[in-house]
Assembly symmetry: C2
Homo-oligomer: 595 residues x 2
């Protein structure tokens, strides 16, 4: 089995050919200097770093796991050293504000780096990964003093960040949060409480850890409105700005998990730890949304990374493993059997993985563009539109792509047959590592309620209109596309289904919950269909223009065809089941589920 | 979380109300004494044994795993003692021939025992589990002398059995087997070679292990026609019939696996080990089919066991976990939030698990009946018909129910949210333990080719006709069933699809492989629909007759409705994708999958 190989050609396709980041960057003053040569050089280096330094750590992390002893967490062999290489090379500061030590490169470039390190090892990547969300939260809501104190250190990578929401009795239901914040005379707060499932909550890779903590001020109302957001460092900031004395933040234990063993998932105890209020008191959840939306996009990327890794491993095995002969006659006459890639069903599994990996990469690229318009652009109207578009696409990307990632991981194991079940072949780890992506940062069910309830129905369908219009425009512009007619039919159906569910939900709110997951998955299949239609269109044009690379572009068109003939028809089922109604779900008496 | 609770009421429903085993047993002379009291007493004891003795071993087995040192395998703490209790209680001999020490009870009763011990711990159950296949093979193909030597010991449970097919370079492709058998002057054979993935290949729970080994006699042709079947004990049989000296059979190592850690998966080395030919030379694969068919049915049961375990764990958690309020208003005013079972999407996940667990149990019961007609009946024509029916249903049961099992395991984790990813909650183990079921004993892809190629198309559709006629007869008899019209429509569609694929496959054999898995899953959904329609019919009659247990029967009807409105529509997609053709799978150049 070959190791991870970064799909640079495909990234380039998405960045330059499909989404035309070149013009987009021209429209953002801060990004106008982003030349193609620079991007290729950076991505090339990121690929080498991910393939050579990070990828070899992934099985080590799985085997060794993290260790907790006397409140101290030790990461797997090599993690700390790789992290040092990472910050030495300047990867942590790449996309951040030059005012705080960053290099000011486009956010999307940072995301492609994240895809590569994440594909190489999602466990390792969780240490630098959480910092990005903390930095965005600080950048958006912190005071200048807070930025000088914390942001510069986070940008340098010498300190890392976390996000502390979940408590033992509440994950989704943040209104139940009990962690308390007592105002102190010096304007800081004493934070006390227990948080669980804190990714990178404690570890040995950085000098200090900055926790972004959701807590309730003394006397604040119950529910989510009483929540405020605080910055709580592991070590207090000393006079010289460096990590000083301990700050009442302790790691009580780490979880033993299904997968991502190299990533420390911590129980964090705060005992009158000094915290700094970020943003307004009582607006904690709103400030946290910056982090949560970043985290959701980041988790969507985990789905893509899983699909890519699964595809690469399965493909490599399918080319090597000799078993049975092709149904249409011997293909490998010199061997005792044919490589299993000759079998149609093995190809069905490989192409499913390929279509999700590359399709997901397109959707992510589209989201990155929106993030850049919001975060780095100087056109307020454009930023507002991008924000609405991203709000609509985030639950789709998060839930659909992570579900797809899990499917791909299972298909990779399936391609290996019984050998897939054996740890040393390294493919079952994908199943174990990927499942969390459909759970954390809001389960698939939570994303689905967000999409259908908060986004689509609450806006009376307005939230989906710009994206639908864009698809319609594509279809009008490319009437000769073999996929335009189907796409138009699908968006018509999408609208009809939305309307029907909306009407039913007005009568009975349970109709919303009864339809939501199927609705989200349906939306995901259409969304990816749009990107596959575009990919085919772009590739056909390249072929027509004699751009060379015939095999690459032909494979894109073939994968698009596969997507439309084999994956998009899943909407046939979803269209029916999402209208099946709440009655068949709700009528059973709670006591009658089992006897 | 409560522990495993055997679903005795549901088993009784399947045995007595749905499938009328009472009349069926009356038609088999050997089983005529099987009274309802006896069955209830046995199943009640099996339930207690599974719940109290076996279930507590399951997390232990997962945590400790098996250990291999210097060729010796040690099972997890408590496994050996529980096995001793198992044979002391006579469970191993229950369904076997009284002539060899068995109790002659109906095979189905043994299968319900297997479901219960398997649900409690599939890892532990793999030690007694493989013996059943070895016993059937011996009973069918062994000489009287071999039966006296081996079968009596296997029936007593003091010895256990295995099945040795796979080699490093061949799993599905058994024609490539290299293990050799050299004839000896005393009529035995010297067996040499390496087998991998041998479940229970070595362990410490029994006194001797009898391996059923597929090997090639010196000078035999290559391919499957050159294979013969041999019995190879770990210890030679001494003069007194007990385990004697070692026999050149060694365990080279055990696999470290994704799951089923308590089950020893062994590399077995045979070095001129003494083996006994079973059945005719060169007919090894045919004799092995007895074992393989048993193993496939046994693996189908693993799917049902996974669905049942998943359902029980998820249901228990969904009743306890308080999170968010119902969309239709507060349901648990005394608590800080409502139990998550109030949310429609959680119910969708629970009912999916329930429908697969109970639906699978019905299909398995139907298969057991066929097995009994074949193995224990005295009507040759009936046995032949049952054999054909079972041959048709086996790949469906094996692949469809194990895929459903994996889906249920993942849904159980999903119901737990992030807590599902944590090992101590015991639900992620289901995902890790269940995946192998879609791989071993022939992957889902292999089952699908068996169903569509060898069974359906090779018989020009004859193989499916008796089952289809039975469904038609049910629909004619119960025209008032709310499901009859849909069932009739579906079997019409099933026939049409079969015809279309058959025609396409005559032109291009790859069309077979391109359609096979979707065809199998489609067949599975119809098959379960038939059983759910029957369950609803039987339950409605019970309600109409005032049988009491209103909640139980109502829940059956509600689950049937759920199955038809939420799961059966998956055929909408499969009907389209199975006709999508081979072109979109086969056109991509092998080198163009990745760049």
């Amino acid at each position: 089995m070959d190791g991870y190989k970064a799909p640079l050609r495909d990234m380039e396709f998405v960045i330059y050919e499909l989404l035309d980041f070149e013009s987009h960057w021209q429209s953002i003053p801060a990004y106008q200097e982003t030349s193609r040569d620079l991007v290729q050089a950076i991505l090339g280096e990121a690929a080498k770093f991910s393939e050579n330094v990070i990828a070899p750590l992934d099985p080590v992390g799985d085997r060794e796991g993290c260790h907790w002893q006397d409140g101290v967490v030790t990461t797997p062999t090599g993690y700390k050293e790789a992290y040092q290489q990472y910050i030495d090379a300047g990867w942590s500061s790449m996309t951040h504000d030059p005012e705080y030590g960053g290099q000011g490169l486009p956010i999307a470039i940072g995301e492609y780096l994240r895809e590569m390190t994440g594909c190489a090892s999602w466990s390792w990547s969780s240490y630098p990964g959480l910092s990005d969300g903390a930095m965005s939260t600080l950048a958006a809501h912190g005071t200048e003093e807070q930025k000088q104190m914390f942001l510069t250190k986070l940008v340098s990578g010498r300190w890392t960040g976390t996000m502390c929401l979940t408590e033992p009795h509440c994950g989704t239901d943040l209104g139940l949060i009990r962690t308390k914040a007592e105002p102190q005379v010096d304007g800081t707060y004493a934070i006390s409480g227990t948080k669980i499932f804190i990714t990178s909550g404690d570890h040995d890779v950085s000098e200090n850890i900055v926790h972004v903590v959701l807590a309730r001020m003394a006397g604040a109302p119950s529910g989510t409105k009483g929540l405020s957001l605080f910055l709580v460092p592991k070590y207090k900031v000393a006079e010289d700005g460096e990590a000083g004395e301990s700050n009442g933040v302790g790691c009580g234990s780490i979880e033993h998990k299904m997968g991502l063993n190299g990533s420390a998932t911590c129980v964090m105890n705060f005992e009158e730890a000094t915290g700094y209020l970020i943003g307004e008191a009582g607006r904690g959840l709103n400030c946290m949304f910056t982090f949560m939306n970043m985290a959701r996009i980041g988790t969507a990327l985990q789905g893509v990374a899983t699909a890519e890794q699964s595809f690469q491993k399965a493909l490599s095995y399918a080319r090597e493993r000799l078993q049975m002969r092709s149904l249409t006659g011997v293909k490998n006459p010199d061997g005792p059997a044919d490589p299993i890639i000759v079998h149609p069903d093995v190809r069905r599994m490989l192409l499913t993985q390929k279509a999700f990996a590359e399709g997901g990469r397109m959707l992510m690229g589209y989201c990155y563009k929106l993030v850049e318009v919001i975060e780095a652009g100087n056109d307020q109207d454009a930023a507002k539109r991008a924000d609405q578009a991203l709000a609509f696409l985030t639950p789709i990307a998060k839930a659909f792509l992570t579900e797809a990632g899990c499917e791909c991981a299972n298909l990779a194991v399936q391609c290996y047959g019984g050998h897939g079940f054996v740890k040393e072949n390294g493919v079952e780890q994908l199943v174990r590592d990927s499942k969390i992506a459909t759970l954390y940062e809001g389960t698939t069910g939570v994303q689905a309620l967000d999409l259908l309830g908060r986004k689509v129905l609450m806006s009376q369908g307005e939230a989906m209109k710009p994206f639908v219009s864009e698809i319609q425009a594509f279809c009008s512009e490319h009437r000769d596309s073999p996929f335009a007619a189907k796409l138009l039919e699908m968006i018509q159906q999408w609208g009809d289904l939305t309307m029907k569910i909306g009407v039913a939900a007005m009568e009975n709110p349970d109709e919303l919950g009864a339809a939501s997951v199927d609705y989200l998955m349906f939306s995901g299949y259409i969304t990816l269909a749009y990107f596959w239609a575009q990919a085919a269109q772009t590739s056909q044009q390249a072929l027509d223009n004699g751009a060379g690379e015939t095999e690459f572009y032909t494979a894109k068109i073939q994968t698009a065809r596969f997507y439309f003939s084999r994956l998009l028809p899943r909407t046939n089922t979803l269209a029916e089941t999402m209208l099946a109604g709440a009655e068949d779900l709700m009528s059973m008496d709670e006591e009658a589920f089992a006897f």
